[in-house]
């Protein structure tokens, strides 16, 4: 059962077409990793899945809603789609706890007490219980990213999008974040992950999509794609990063 269906997706920035006829299906509980060189369009593709980018053409159906339809309530769809950014984007004027409770309280009308209870559970899950009262500025990069994951999870989304979640982190911080993501995958979360962490893609991914030049060049289960790439472009890329 596909929870995301992408048909003939195109995206242009001015005259530059960065996504050219993308077709993809993502099934419930599937972990899909998107890899590819810089400028291949993988982040843009991900950002089209919750319409953070205006879509130039084609259709993107998320959880039964065609988000390319201008009349759809995109805010409703986004509540079901959590997103984690490369640069964390925590709200610096709010404490860790307030960062996590903002969505549930303002959007889902959860009571403050209930939202805080959930937030503390999530903080425990990402290993940061003691940071509830801290401000983002007081956290390390890895801690920030784990809070960002907790913030997205607080909305109890059906899908989680990760846009290079470990690319801005010190190497020794990467492991903690990947650990949280692995746990999430184990619990059956549907995840789409744009990443340069080939180890993660191989170990956790159910499927890997290789993108280049605005196209999906190749997709396959991780072992198959990494060990036996079919296209020259994939081979060339993998030979550089593996």
């Amino acid at each position: 059962m596909s929870i995301i269906t992408v048909k003939n997706l195109r995206k242009s920035f001015g005259k530059v077409e960065v996504l050219k006829d993308i077709n993809a299906e993502i099934k419930e509980k599937e972990v899909v990793c998107i890899i590819g060189p810089s400028g291949s369009g993988k982040s843009t593709f991900l950002r089209c899945l919750n319409r953070l980018e205006d879509i130039s053409g084609g259709h993107v159906v998320v959880d039964g809603h065609d988000i390319t339809d201008k009349n759809i309530n995109i805010n409703k769809v986004r509540q079901e789609v959590g997103m984690v950014f490369q640069s964390f984007n925590l709200f610096p004027h709010k404490t860790v706890l307030e960062n996590i409770t903002l969505g549930p309280v303002k959007i889902r009308n959860t009571s403050k007490e209930e939202a805080e209870k959930i937030a503390l559970e999530l903080l425990e899950k990402v290993g940061l219980s003691e940071k509830a009262g801290s401000y983002p500025g007081e956290l390390s990069g890895g801690q920030k990213q784990r809070v960002a994951i907790a913030r997205a999870l607080a909305m109890n989304p059906k899908i989680m999008l990760f846009d290079e979640p470990t690319s801005a982190l010190d190497p020794e911080m990467v492991g903690d974040v990947l650990e949280v993501m692995k746990q999430l995958a184990k619990e059956g979360m549907t995840m789409v992950v744009v990443t340069h962490e080939m180890g993660f893609a191989r170990e956790v991914g159910d499927r890997v999509i290789f993108m280049d030049g605005g196209y999906i060049v190749e997709e396959n289960e991780p072992n198959e794609l990494f060990n036996n790439p079919q296209h020259n472009r994939t081979k060339a890329f993998l030979s550089k990063v593996l």
């Binding site: 953070l52 997103m83 984007n89 709200f91 303002k106 959007i107």
Partner: protein, 214 residues
């Protein structure tokens, strides 16, 4: 010393008028600036243009001309009649509003767009994002410039004496010609303005520290 004991109470009466006008006008001006800043950033060309014309018109003309336009110009039509206090408050508010517009617009635009993306990706609407995420951060950044503009507007109120408002400057003028103690009177008036503005900046410093980002 005699001058001080007779004139000071009257000057303080004037100060009360000055502060009364300032507080109302600066509050209105700030709200006006906030609304026009949002118009300026709205995705509608017509609204952007209205906002731009307002800001350009106010920035491009002297305060006193705006004051005469509103007090004498508008009253000359005999459709509405503004008394001098109302005209004074309206002028200071409209004048400050234009500068606040630019301060608030720049403050909002200075916030990283990742903040908007994070808020919108949670499912917050555009206006919720503005209210809970962007404005609280922008406001902190704007505080020093808001203080600056408030001080300028407070000093601008002294020009309201020319339409007969009995503010601190007007009372100074009356006392100076009544007592002929020109030097002392204007010194006292200056010191009063200075103290008020000094207190205002201490207050602003306090607020700034209180809201500092950690």
């Amino acid at each position: 010393m005699d001058v001080i004991s007779t004139s000071l109470p009257i000057l303080l009466q004037g100060l009360k008028v000055t502060l009364y006008i300032f507080v109302i006008a600066i509050t209105l001006g700030f709200l006006l600036g906030l609304v026009v800043a949002l118009l300026k950033l709205a995705p509608f060309k017509i609204l952007n243009w209205i906002a731009k014309i307002y800001v350009d018109a106010i920035r491009g003309t002297p305060f006193i001309v705006q004051l005469f336009f509103i007090y004498f110009g508008i009253n000359s039509f005999h459709i509405i009649s503004l008394n001098n206090t109302t005209a004074g408050i309206v002028t200071v508010a409209i004048n400050a509003g234009a500068y606040f517009t630019e301060i608030i617009r720049a403050g909002i635009q200075s916030i990283d767009k990742g903040q908007t993306e994070a808020a919108r990706s949670l499912g917050l609407t555009g206006s919720q994002t503005m209210r809970y995420v962007i404005l609280p951060q922008a406001f902190r950044r704007m505080l020093p410039t808001i203080t600056n503009q408030s001080i300028i507007s407070l000093k601008d109120t002294s020009l309201l004496s020319v339409i007969g408002i009995a503010d601190l400057t007007q009372q100074g003028q009356i006392q100076a010609s009544a007592t002929f103690e020109v030097f002392k009177i204007w010194l006292i008036v200056g010191v009063i303005y200075f103290i008020i503005i000094y207190l205002l900046s201490i207050l602003a410093n306090f607020v700034e520290r209180r809201f500092e980002l950690r």
